[in-house]
Amino acid sequence: MLEWLWLIPALPFAGYVVLALAGARLSRTIVASVGVGSVGLSTALALATGFSFITSPQSNHVYSQTLWTWISVGNFTPTIAFYLDPLSLVMTLVVTFVSFFIHLYSSEFMIGDEGYSRFFAYMNLFVGSMLTLVLADNLLLLYLGWEGVGLCSYLLIGFWYQDPSNGRAARKAFIVTRVGDTAFAIGLFLLFTHLGTLQIQEVMQRAAQQWPMSSPLAVAAAALLLGGAVGKSAQLPLQTWLPDAMAGPTPVSALIHAATMVTAGVYLIARTHVLFSLAPAVQLTVAGIGAATLLLAGFSALSQRDIKRVLAYSTISQIGYMFLALGVGAWSAAIFHLMTHAFFKALLFLAAGVVILAMHEEHDMLKMGGLRRRLPLTFWTFLIGAASLSALPLVTAGFYSKDLILWSAWSSSSGSTWLWVAGLVGALLTSVYTFRMVFLTFFGEAKHDVTYRPGNRMRLTLIVLATLSLIAGLVELPHTLGGRAYFSEFMASALPALDYVRGDTRAELILQIVAGAVSVAGIYLAYLFFLRRRAIAESLARSSVGAALDRFWFAGWGFDWLYKKLFVGPYVWLARVNKDDFIDSIYDGIAKLNEVLYRALSVTESGKVRWYMTGIAFGAIVAIAIAVFL
């Protein structure tokens, strides 16, 4: 079974090729069956592969498959090879599974769109690239997948290209992530020149052998890889592209900008964790970036009115939690949260997609309300997703993963109380903005008459994801609840366990109770402000400080403004100054000089033989004079 590993990314690529070449001529039914079917087969294969991988008696728990040598130049011989270990297996399963259900949902959601086959072609290309990224055996192949998902993200954000603002959002996403990708590429050059290989496992091994702790090279390599991860995962300071990326269709936001692609940065850091362990300063930066991002994005989410932008900021914030976990060395906790987040955030986006369809493309939550009775299934699934996002204790998956991160931030050798407090404040914010969204959208009086009902495929997707949002946390129970850590035990061969230095079971219980209480308190605050006593929230927002903060948070802490002043403005100014291209004018000058000379010389070609004779005679005299006198 394992030798069919290559088919997992190959199938979506095949689907892409079919749809890209023949999609326009196929009927919608066939397009949907190719688009959904290729990912479905890939998912089935991933499940089968995962089953045989777990049950196989291999001691080292690693399977790698080399297809062919990609390039061979000197000692630079990257291969097209796939590497399966517990980390990439979990990622593969999450990606294929979530992708399949989102494809299924899209086959109904996008049915009225004229770009139906184009949509599925891009989505299949995305899934193929993402699986290449996840399964890649060397960093160059990983980079290929990395750029592939970036391209698909660009194509799908600008999917409705007739609206220029969508095109702008797509370009913004592409350019901002390119900043990080450049750092990543330089990091790869550095690793190759100093370690002589890009094969991930060998890079880790050689780095651990050759580079001492905190050596400048290790710090530089880790920092450059972090740059790539920050760009892709929309963390400070490159987080500005994600809220605008919501211009794409809702299933795209669910798949690419919530569940899979944006978590690639987390995967990259977990994959190259040895480098980060060698550079504790960089690792601390990862934790700092995570903590700062989760707070910033949490505040911003509080004041958004567009339902998708709230979810976008919450994605940034949740990835901040994953970075926090990576930063304190809780590698498997980060991947655990990545997994549960993929389920509940995809669910929230897809349910929001139903709401937006039902409201006829209305995104503003303040114009919604009372949808609870009109869209009961959507309401219940959205509520489950929201509860999971808010980490409602015991019953939701989000609680287990977020609690593990908070506990790690407290007890790890590189953790601190400050990081824990930041996480806790973030958790309070999370449940406030999440339930603000729930109360504004589904409670209150109905403002519109809604007749829309989601079809079977959309309902099935919502139900499956809601179920997973509830039970996916049971694979890793904390010590206080039996301590069955199947997930981190499974991960142990790929990712080292957390280095605990403080806290016992009693402390863990207290922290858990605090975290749970914070989550419930957040929900109560949201209930108070946005349902029971709207007047309090409104008077707060009207006060001068409140209004200023609201505007500031709404604009995402003014990062867009800052970058516009700092980078875009000067760049545009420079482009305008240099409109005629200074370098080009040198070459234009040479051409102009030639033209002038040509005109001057063509005058001498008068057609008068006697002039030519004179010229020859004069030339001969000069030549002879030179020969004689010099």
């Binding site: 010389l601 063509s602 005058v603 001498t604 070609e605 008068s606 057609g607 008068k608 033989v609 006697r610 004779m613 004179t614 005679a617």
Partner: protein
């Protein structure tokens, strides 16, 4: 035999050459230009002969015979060109044949 000094011979050759060159440059009639070219060729030939006699070498006269042959060939081609020129332009004015200007 009192030999003519070489300088005299060479001076005559230079004079003839200059006269020929001036003729080529100032004349507009093609026939005269051809004649002037002949004078220049013969001036060169004279210089060879003078040099040959100065160093008592036969090469100078051999060269002159060679120049005569070349001159004969040149004149036949030149006169053919003159005929064509006259047939096309009904004139022997060299300045009229200036269609190939840049």
């Amino acid at each position: 035999m009192p030999a003519v000094p070489m300088e005299h011979g060479l001076f005559l050759a230079a004079l003839l050459f200059a006269l020929g060159l001036i003729g080529v440059l100032v004349r507009r009639n093609v026939i005269f230009i051809l004649m002037s070219i002949e004078i220049m060729l013969n001036a060169a030939g004279l210089a060879f002969v003078v040099a040959g006699s100065r160093w008592a070498q036969v090469d100078g006269q051999v060269m002159f015979v060679f120049i005569l042959a070349v001159a004969a060939a040149e004149v036949s081609v030149g006169l053919a060109l003159v005929l064509q020129l006259y047939r096309h332009l009904q004139t022997l004015d060299i300045d009229a044949a200036s269609k190939m200007r840049g």
